[in-house]
Symmetry: C5
Subunit: 287 residues, 5 copies
């Protein structure tokens, strides 16, 4: 079931989309164009004979290909792992709410726990960005809101509050020993999910890979004209720019998607996911 | 154990099958043929000398290859993951039915739960398409059908109804505390499976990869003739079309299989799976 | 620890082994040889100048390489996954038998359950082929044999019979509530393993990949001579056949190993595994 | 943290190491050198013009590359999976010993169980080789040693003996029902680990891949000189030998590491692991 | 969300970073430069005609590419697996502390257990390096510190101490049988994590791969000039050095990241992770 048919109308989309990347790479493209232009000028005006060698760019290109494949795949793997973790967040939240709804008799604690579960995704996503936005979770009530503000690590705080309420319910004898520990397991899973998000968010690629790849693309763009200039003459400049742009766009997209919790066009729809969980839990409570 | 022997009779099949893709790509092929034809006409009739350069298409081709491999593999991985999830649906449903059948004494609730388990795959598959088809699950009875119609998220609804009935049985003292929680774990798994299907269905590939790949194939198809026209002359046009077609067919198939819950020829046999589960559960009940 | 040292004597083995594939691909090789021979004849006898172009086969070849890698890896992944699942079958059967042997007091039910566990692998393997061979499992006794014959899905039937007997033992109070559910978990695992085997067996590769790959190999074999004929003349025919044969042998092996439960030379030793499980369980019972 | 700095002194190591592989491949290298030498002699002395064609070896080389990557990766994957399984053996043994040490009151059974756990890795490793070496596990005492000698599948025997002793302890009422089943779970895990080792040990690669790869390397080494002889003349012989050697060394290493439980230089340090587990368990017992 | 925008200012960073690798590879680069320089000198001054052959380096280069991809990917996979294991350490520690804090009544044991959990990451990281630094975990108190010093395998010691204290609490009747075993499961997980770290730390790559890859890069760097010298003349020397440097930098980085528990610039931030766990546990205790 293809999401979109690739019809003729796509061509406009493609170029409008590329505009976004062109803006990001504009400065680089100038830096790449300058040495190529100088080389072309020397070659054309000064009638200097430049050694044309196809083998050297070919070897460099092969190693570059290895590194580009590696960069692209690892970035995508993180993106997809992040998506799986968020999918786990959806499932765990639904299960937790369903179980709480079934096992606990109606009480102030029950309502609060269900609200806290619904608040967790909102808190987690902003914890991974710049800081919790309390306006998003005002449905938990002012009292809980104030308690959470005391925590530096707010998602941990939410779990602590849930567990405290579960303990109260348990001590009132409304759930059995076994049910109590079963319910807490869901909190363990929420902490697990949180930890995985933090891992993906906080661990950049090994810096060496990042720097080397960029350095090699740049060196390659400097060497490449030597193999093209005899044939293409002035056309070498757009040719080099296209190759540089294509290679660099893979690097740039990889950098965007490897930490997918932000608000870039390629990031995951974290806000939608939080809203959906909220809606699902509301539906569970109301029926 | 090969499914089909590749004998001479396959050749007809191959071309009939390709017809399906040719229809999908027809408009694109025209768009690609036009610039190539113009170029050929200029070259042949105007006797203009076009710079032939083999290196440039080669470099572009390598990067294109990287992106095609990536596109193909990630799409297949989703398809296969979806297949695994559906396999899990088969297993969980069978187990759930077997356990309910064993542990619960005969009662109205038992029959209803078994029906609800059998209905879940039908509901899930249409939830991933356009909306539940109640005619498929009329075996659950009108009463339950009406209850389900109140839910926006029907698969969640089914689980809620199952858990409610289990609670009734538990409160009547027909199963122990421990058995009750064991049985509910199966519902957790069904929710888990549902969440995974939703994840695969709702998360398209990062848009940037999609657009860039198509854009690069197009750019490549424009540049490619420069390297072929000196040798192939008018034969450049079919050559370019073949290469474009082969590359684009990989992209098109990838788009089809990355969301495999639809009714395309490459999608998973979701309807058959639902029917098989239904039959298996019937056999378990009757014996 | 290499299984076999690759000494000079291997060369005979290699060619005898290839004979097996050559028989499978014989018809195809004729179909490929005909157009190439016609082309060569035109070229050699008619002194027609054929445009030699190295780039076109090179581009096609790269895309073909992508698809061959993909085909080969996915087929092997299934084969290895199937091997893991069968390994799981060995472990689960051993564990199940060990636990039954330890926890249950001697009784008719205990013997029957142990026999049923030993029968499961035999039943499963033939269920994946053409139908259960009752002579293989006659050790379960005639009574159980007849009961199993009533089932369409025999592996499901075996599990049902095991669980029934466990229930009898439980109701006699010979095992606790907790032990009962622990033991049943093993049956869940057997059903899980069965489901995984069925998934691998029943899901062929997306048809589109299969057809396209074969079509492209064929098209490639037609185009390839254009790039070779100027240099190789009549030697083009064996050259094309070798390349075609090598590519097609990868496809053919992939088709064989992707459904590894049959009796092809590359399939898994399913019968041996079933026999080993039987022997292990006998040893557990007797000591 | 690199294990070894690659300094100039490594060069000697490299060549000494390669000596090991050269011995293994010596016979093959002669077989490869003969046809190449004949070809060179004909070319040089007979002044026969040999058709030089670069494309054919290139195509063959690409497919060969695919198969070499595949061979290398699957062999390494097994090696690493085996390492993970052995890591699991370390963990499970430690945990098992820690729990036994904590939960069981001092008794003859406790000591015996701890000894049996420590003996399991020794027994497993030799079970995967040629047969258990009883001298290695004499610390279990003569009585148990004799009991084990009755078993054909000794690792299974050890587990059976452990479970028997646990049952005795349980029947004396020294551990609860729940603790008993928790402890047995560790034995299940040991059986699981054993099963995984057996799977890796007993399942060679699909024979077809193995034979084809070697056959293609040989065919390739025969065809390759055609593309080199015009330029390299007598130097063709060392060139072909180097290429053949490099390709074959990958195959040879893959064969060594895909079954890593032996005593080859590339195999896993199975004996050290068994010794470490023994030492860890001694430390746990003594403190 | 890209970590860093690749702007023009990056160019300085790239070269400063490369300086780090250049130092590491300096000796090698000299060894590579000498034979190339000799070859160039012979060619230029002696007017000796050197056979230029493009095919041979191309074939070698392809196989080298295979090995470089393999080396790079396996090293990164270990690095990322290590990161996941450390992420698991964070989660397990948090969960353990949360559960201890909730389930145990205030007592000397509770405080000690929480301290021991917080000490575990510090002990683990130095256990993987050269030996535990007791100054880092002085918050556990002198008494426990002295007890730990008796252990050779200190992380095992910490777990033993935790379990001992849990047993005391259990025997005082402050937690139930079920809670006791649930809590101990966390210790099992800590031992599991420790085992995984040890596996990654102690298992170098198969030595054969390591040596062969380096040997092939060196051989390749010796052969490569033959294909370049006709065109590039004296420029062959920098060309060979660049290619050698690029290939070797991948190997060097791979060696650094495959054992990521050290203090190299590319290693994981193990110290920060230990500090964060400490802070999180403090926050859990204080609220």
């Amino acid at each position: 079931m293809p999401k979109k048919n690739f019809s003729q109308s796509n061509f406009f989309l493609i170029f409008s989309y590329k505009g976004y990347l062109i803006r990001r790479l504009a400065v680089d493209l100038i830096w790449i164009a300058i040495p190529t232009t100088i080389l072309c000028t020397i070659h054309e005006l000064g009638h200097v004979n430049i050694e044309s060698n196809f083998t050297l760019p070919g070897l460099m290109g092969a190693i570059l290909g290895i590194l580009l494949v590696f960069r692209n795949n690892t970035a995508y793997d993180r993106w997809w792992e992040a998506r799986k973790v968020l999918g786990g967040l959806v499932n765990t939240s639904r299960n937790y709410a369903l179980q709480i709804n079934q096992l606990l008799p109606d009480s102030k604690e029950k309502t609060e726990i269900l609200n806290l579960i619904a608040a967790f995704p909102y808190v987690l996503k902003e914890h991974l960005r710049s800081g919790v936005i309390y306006i998003e979770i005002e449905f938990v009530g002012e009292e809980i809101s104030n308690e959470l503000k005391k925590w530096e690590h707010v998602p941990n705080g939410i779990n602590q509050l849930i567990i405290k309420r579960l303990k109260t319910v348990y001590e009132r004898g409304e759930i059995t020993d076994f049910q109590y520990l079963k319910l807490i397991e869901n909190s363990d899973e929420l902490i697990d999910i949180m930890g995985k998000c933090e891992r993906i968010h906080k661990t950049p690629m090994p810096q060496s890979h990042n720097y080397l790849l960029k350095a090699y693309i740049y060196i390659y763009a400097i060497i490449m004209p030597l193999g093209l200039i005899e044939n293409l003459e002035w056309w070498t400049i757009p040719a080099v720019i296209i190759i540089y742009y294509v290679a660099m766009s893979i690097v740039t997209i990889s950098e965007e998607i490897e930490d997918p919790f932000g608000k870039d066009p390629n990031d995951l729809p974290v806000d939608n996911i939080a809203n959906n969980i909220y809606k699902n839990i509301q539906e569970i409570i109301n029926k």
